[in-house]
Amino acid sequence: MTDTNGSTAAQSAVKDAAPGPDKPVVELRGAGKSYGNIRALHGVNLTVHPSRVTCVLGDNGAGKSTLIKIISGLHQHTEGEFLVDGEAVRFTTPREALDAGIATVYQDLATVPLMPVWRNFFLGSEMTKGPWPVRRLDIEKMKKTADEELRNMGIVLDDLDQPIGTLSGGQRQCVAIARAVYFGARVLILDEPTAALGVKQSGVVLKYIAAARDRGLGVIFITHNPHHAYMVGDHFSVLRLGTMELSAARDQVSLEELTNHMAGGTELAALKHELAQVRGVDVEELPEEEDLTAPVATPKDGAA
């Protein structure tokens, strides 16, 4: 594969006009990652289109984190291809991914708790004014912009000077999403945004995912909750033990099937026959193998 210098490819990509709705912004072709002799991810195909929500589901250890770390520039892939706007890239720092318009909202490390909301909002991309020796933060403009942007996303905060650590988990996620949207992200990666949240707060976050999608962003929604995924998703990919188990559009898969795939899919069906031998286990609710009609992804070069 060709390794284009990440940053130059990224910068030219940003300057290009927005791609057509059918052209993927981010595409993974048979991508994988090995840590020494451990193959964490293998043969993953994923496309992200503008104004579409791509859900990546998987249980713990399925390779979700590795996948987003590759796309967000924290790690590099060791096999396959990673394309942004059709060009192969390899990001070495999160900064390069950001410059390419790929913003990541992490579940736990999205913000610096002791810093005020507005400083968090602009962290790493601060607005400044004045010539170099006295170049300083444009605090008034930053506060005003942060307030406007948050209100546009429907988040109303009284005091942007309060430490972001005093906000609730859902509010913090929303601030991080609003920040990504404001900084011209074309692709938004959300790492289990609803994992630590209550029912109502999860709903709020899902609302902002939809809002980001309506603004034309491609969203990668990482979760292990198929119910949340099905509420906003356009395309579903299920990861299992580092490989793609399922890749299906919304009309090809039902929530029930998605849940079954999450729970182990074909393995669960096999387990049903074994459980049927044991008295007292109700297997009526478990799916048969032939019930799983959604197309099961088959990696090109045969997964391990």
């Binding site: 967000s72 924290l74 720092t93 999160p94 900064r95 950001l98 990541t104 992490y106 490390l109 999205a110 913000t111 610096v112 708790p113 002791l114 810093m115 005020p116 400083r119 602009f122 962290l123 790493g124 991309s125 601060e126 400044t128 170049r135 300083r136 933060l137 605090i139 008034e140 506060k143 005003k144 307030d147 406007e148 209100r151 109303v156 905060l157 009284d158 005091d159 942007l160 000077d161 309060q162 430490p163 005093t166």
Partner: protein, 357 residues
Amino acid sequence: MTQATAPAASSSPPAPPATQKDGRTAQRSLGRRLLARPEVGALIAAIGVYVFFFAAAPSFREAGSLATVLYQASVMGIMALPVALLMIGGEFDLSAGVAVTTSALTAAILSFQLTMNVWTGVFVALVVSLAVGAFNGWLLIKTGLPSFLVTLGSFLILQGSNLAVTKIFTGNVASDSIADMDGFDQAKSVFASEVSIGGVDFKVTIFYWLVFAGIATWLLLRTKFGNWIFAVGGNKDSARAVGVPVNLTKIALFMGVGAGAWFVGMHLLFSFNTVQSNEGVGNEFLYIIAAVIGGCLLTGGYGSAIGPVIGAFIFGMVNQGIVYANWNPDWFKAFLGVMLLLAALVNLWVRQQATRR
């Protein structure tokens, strides 16, 4: 960490539906918001200590005594500033105390041995000090070891080298006097002169100290770099993920400590013409104490540049106040320990009051 001034915070947001409010967060009272500032605990303590010695030691009240107290405070305070910034950035530098001596020795020995203008030595000392800082930062980032260990190592290296190298060149533990060398008087006027105000001589370091404190405050609260300092100390991984150059920030902070060590080293050299190579050991803790008394959080991400100024002022008052009160100066360290514990407790209490919802 409400760095913004009160007026900016209280002005209503000009966004479209400005009247819409969340409603759950009541505006905290002015007193609460003042208490939330990191240096308030130290300020209260400083006033307490001042009143105490003002009452206990009659000679403490004279203007000349104030000049001495401020001088004591400034020599330590100049170093406490970069140490505090480093601490806000989440790291320690245990080599800061002996780095001062290293810098002074470099300038003294180099100038004397090569019989050059002292400014050459001053310049080379700056380069060496910055290099020591950069080395500390680089090693920290490359190894991922805690800064406590890395700088403990460089502390021992510098302490040993100070003694050994000085003995190689001079045969004893002090550097040779550079008082009769070219450029000495000029350098002395820059680093170690006195300014007379109303008949009282104030050392020039007092003014440098206050100017540096102003610059540090501006840097911390009004620049990009200041934002990064809080971020790398508060949550390094988050900072990196949003594109803050974490490694660069940390190395720059260590180099800042190097620059401070250079300045204080030059002051000591041009005040006394010679340097004792075993000096400076233990001072690193005084810098850290000044920063902690000034409200900087030991774990990083919180603090101010004004805090360590007040912390150093308390240090100067206690140091001199004991002498003026005619007590045994041996009590100084004990007193300082009590101050540190009290300051830590006051800071804890203040922060709990301020962040209580």
